[in-house]
Homo-oligomer: 199 residues x 4
């Protein structure tokens, strides 16, 4: 019992330290493209040594994956939260997606990266697909509520793509503040919701 408890504590402690590294990485990703962040930088930011990072992640790519999956998990939770009192409407869903991406640009960049050819491990693919499926079915529900009858799955895909496209097209519009970008992308999200609202 005591031994189990000890091991449990150790586990918690380990997770806490892992989170330390994870957060350090996230802070850096907020400033520069995740592909150009080095192990040394992460170690420095986290206040640990390079070797320590390798105690928690076998490769740098795994750390990236963890960042990615953490965000995916967060998104899933957000979606669940949003739909716990019945299916959300289209506009709310679109705004949620855009807001989430705005606050988790790294997630978005990684998604793009992995989608555009960066190889993703099995675990990563599975976790990503899970989140995707959840998002898709929520979108489908919302579309259905909005009156869509045919091609639900395809239309959901289209809506999802459209929202992603807004981000890639405007997420780093030069000369605009983050807030301005948020405003602009939300406005576009509303337009998307609008055009999909009257089938």
């Amino acid at each position: 019992m005591v031994k189990q408890s000890l091991e449990h504590l150790k586990e918690i402690e380990r997770d806490a330290r892992r989170k330390l590294v994870l957060d350090a990485a996230l802070e850096l990703f907020a400033v520069k493209d995740f592909r150009s962040v080095t192990v040394r930088e992460i170690a420095k930011q986290a206040g640990v040594s390079v070797g320590t990072i390798y105690n928690y992640y076998p490769t740098l790519m795994e750390l990236f994956l963890d960042v990615f999956l953490t965000s995916a998990e967060k998104m899933k939770n957000g979606l669940h939260e949003m739909s716990k009192d019945g299916p959300p409407d289209l506009k709310a869903l679109c705004r949620f997606h855009i807001s989430f991406l705005n606050e988790n640009m790294t997630f978005y960049q990684m998604m793009s990266h992995f989608m555009l050819g960066g190889e993703l491990s099995g675990v990563g693919t599975e976790k990503l697909n899970q989140t995707m499926r959840l998002l898709m079915s929520l979108i489908e529900n919302a579309l259905q509520t909005a009156g869509h009858k045919k091609n639900l799955r395809l239309t959901a895909h289209t809506l999802f793509s459209a929202l992603n496209g807004i981000m890639i097209s405007y997420a780093r519009y030069p000369g605009r503040t983050n807030e301005e970008i948020r405003q602009h992308t939300l406005r576009l999200a509303d337009i998307v919701a609008d055009v999909f609202d009257n089938p």
Copy 2:
């Protein structure tokens, strides 16, 4: 006269060899992210030495830029061609855009890259903006023809983003052939055209 002709021939020959390098790069870009393609790989693919690459491009980034500008030019020509007999309709425009991106994925990746923060030289920015403006005004015209009255510019942006999003979301869907991807993305493009068609 003869001398001019000779120099002209040399120019042509030089361009042909430059194209050799360009094509080698494109072949590699089809397989992996352009950011991770090395000079050595391009040289090997082109069947020339590393030094030769630098006879045609002062830096690797310039080569990338050439690939990008070549595609931008091609897209512009395609758009001009398409609109020479009056404004194209929404569906045709969407299909053109998606088709073009399918055949020029690297262009799409580079556009994303540059849009997401990769620095682009003055020439590149100018050329890109030119193409963008042309595309946008074509979209606006088509939207107008389709009955859109307000928020034309914003709606055009949204449509454009939606199409891009389709590509980023499905361009490399694992386990599908290029043809399948083309079919799928065109189908989604049609849906986009549809939802934007009845304001």
Copy 3:
């Protein structure tokens, strides 16, 4: 306390390893012009990998600078030592300078290089100037003691130049051993001291 001691030990160890690299560089500089020594050569000579060099010096130029500054420091110490019991006489000063250059040819080469236009960092310039000023004022004192009354500063410069000239002219006289070169240059140094001794 223990922690401080440990860190101190680490510091010492680090310095020892840095010296390993430094000495390897010096051995190579004895054989060939420092400008043509490569990182790979230094690494090989030191028995370490290329990367290790960069653990101790951010750039190759910094390593060169370290070699240079170490010698400058050594020279300054020698000069201080020599003058602690009153101003040294002209002959002793000349012999010291020539002896030092004989034993630190790389210092001499670097001094020449930097003087002839190789850019030197701020630290380097400052350290060099310090040593120069010290040497100059010692020479001035010695000249004064020797009976020189006017143009002290200019004459000191001339004497200094003359000694340097001896080195550049004979330091690598082909077909002579280092010892023979030392003898010859010291003989010339004595002549210099002589002609400057009877104003």
Copy 4:
């Protein structure tokens, strides 16, 4: 006869073209260290192709050597000219040497380079030594005229070294114009002549 004449003409033409290259090199050497001048730069400056340079010189080093020997020849001529009406006095000799080096910095740099370890071919060494011997005997004569009796050869070496030293020490004094440098080095040369004038 005619054939010989033709060949002679060709020879002259060839020499003229070679001089074209040589002069181009000299112009570049005036601006930057000769070690960092590339074949391409010389070719461009001379208005010929890279290949052409290799028609005249088997390697770049040979071109450097030619530049060096040309200067050495010029110096020898100057010395002969100066001594044709009897042995020149010490001050004139010193001023000549310094003036020549000021106007032929590249010669000086190359001399330093070769003396400090840059390997010099047999031809180069021989030609250099010839000039040296001539200079030395002129210096010896001047010293003798000035009343020096013993150690003539050694004293000549010393004087020669001293003059060289002046150049290395002040030839590129930062922040001074060429004219200022000329003035300063001539002043030091006078001091050298002075101290060697009263044995």
